[in-house]
Amino acid sequence: MSVTRALFRLYRPIVLPFAVILAVADLIATVAVAQFNDLGFSMWMVLGGQAAKYWILTIGIMLVVMHLRQFVVNGATRHEFLAGTAVFGMVLAVAWAIAIPLGHGIESALLDAFGRRGPGYPVPTAGGALREFGQQLPISLAYLVSGATIATGFYRWRPPIGLVVMVGGAVPAVVADWQLGFDEWGGIPNNLPFAAGLALSLATTGLVAWGLHRAVSDVPIRRTAG
């Protein structure tokens, strides 16, 4: 079985319940707030856009800390593992980038149907959906790469070096947030034009991903992480 397929099998019981929990949490929180006020912001943007990226960061960490060793001791090469995680991570990132505008649209439609959509609520549009996809995809990729790089720093090297790697590893996440991060209205509180911010984020993520590949490609398989 390929590494990608095995990863999907391993993470299926984690990813699907998480998506359901997030949707239920959004529903409960939205209903709770809507009891008192019309909703003037998107709860989905807060939960799915602002909070879920930390879960993606955690997956990046888990991939290295829990699964790198597991795959190599069962006969996969490090390169196969990296290629498999890249495909897995890309599918996960694209899926979540689709879920963001989709969830926003559903949330908006439900609020509208129940007459609880406030005047400040960011009404979804086709262009807005495309922009949300374009924001979330690089954010997910950046957080995944950051998580994996931070974990690799501590897996491969001693803690002092791991701390240094952690700072460098966090750069994709920081840049993605800085240039593309969501606010509760789906906006981008950035300084650069979207295209430039997107390019900067992807370039940073790509550069750190290249370093991650270099660090993992011949990493000794230790008995325990850290």
Binding site: R9, V72, T77, H79
Partner: protein, 287 residues
Amino acid sequence: MIELRDVSVRYGSTVAVEGVDLDLPTGKIYGLLGRNGSGKTSLLSALASFRRPSSGTVRVDGQDAFENPAVMRQTCFIRDTLDTNDSDRVRRLMTFAGWMRPHWDADYAAKLLDLFAIDTRKRAASLSRGQKSAVGVVLGLAARAPLTILDETYLGMDAVARAVFYRELLADYLAHPRTIILSTHLIEEVADLFERVIVIDRGRLLLHEETDELRGRGVTVTGPAATVDTFVAGHPVLGEQSLGGMRAVTLDWRPEPAEVARGEAAGLTFGPVGVQDMFIHLTEANR
């Protein structure tokens, strides 16, 4: 053929393995012996591509082993510490190995787990030391990897479990011949399984011989103390034991038939040397 050429493994300024050259024909059971800290695990880690050698090459059937999918998929290295996540249940470990190992035999794994009385619902963290070793044995044997490396996988196993391990190892090897490398400190317990013995000390290769040849290198001379002392004088002594007026001396020397006949006429008896005695002598002499 497994070929190691000038393989060294260093950790910073510490040299764990230095300039090891080995040719290991496939389809045999090897015993890898060495004292604590002699570099056994480092050597095996390089062989299994768990670690890139600091210098030198490891080739399996003519191909470089490190990061070679064709080689790594056919290699199974079980370390003394079970390479799993503590939260994993035994059942999950077996399933995962089944996904990844091309020759995995799930029925055989289930049989071994039953023999070792391992509850597959248990998490790795809740297994005893001996149970973890048993799970390692199951993962190693049921993988049926053409190159199977077991590094002190007996740790914590009781005598019954170890006997089951040795019996199953031999039976499965005979049914599915492959290359097996066993690293162990319980030399006498498993010496009968070894077809070849490799001894390393302080990171260097001391010996690589057929087990029978190794045994044939020496002899144990038993008899009246004075007669034994006279007979063994001038020959390298591996060890000696005395009880009352009797003495048994193990020699790293093979007497000629005429000398054996002369000794027997003087009341001496001659027996084979254990692999462990030879190992002790070789590694002590190297220090």
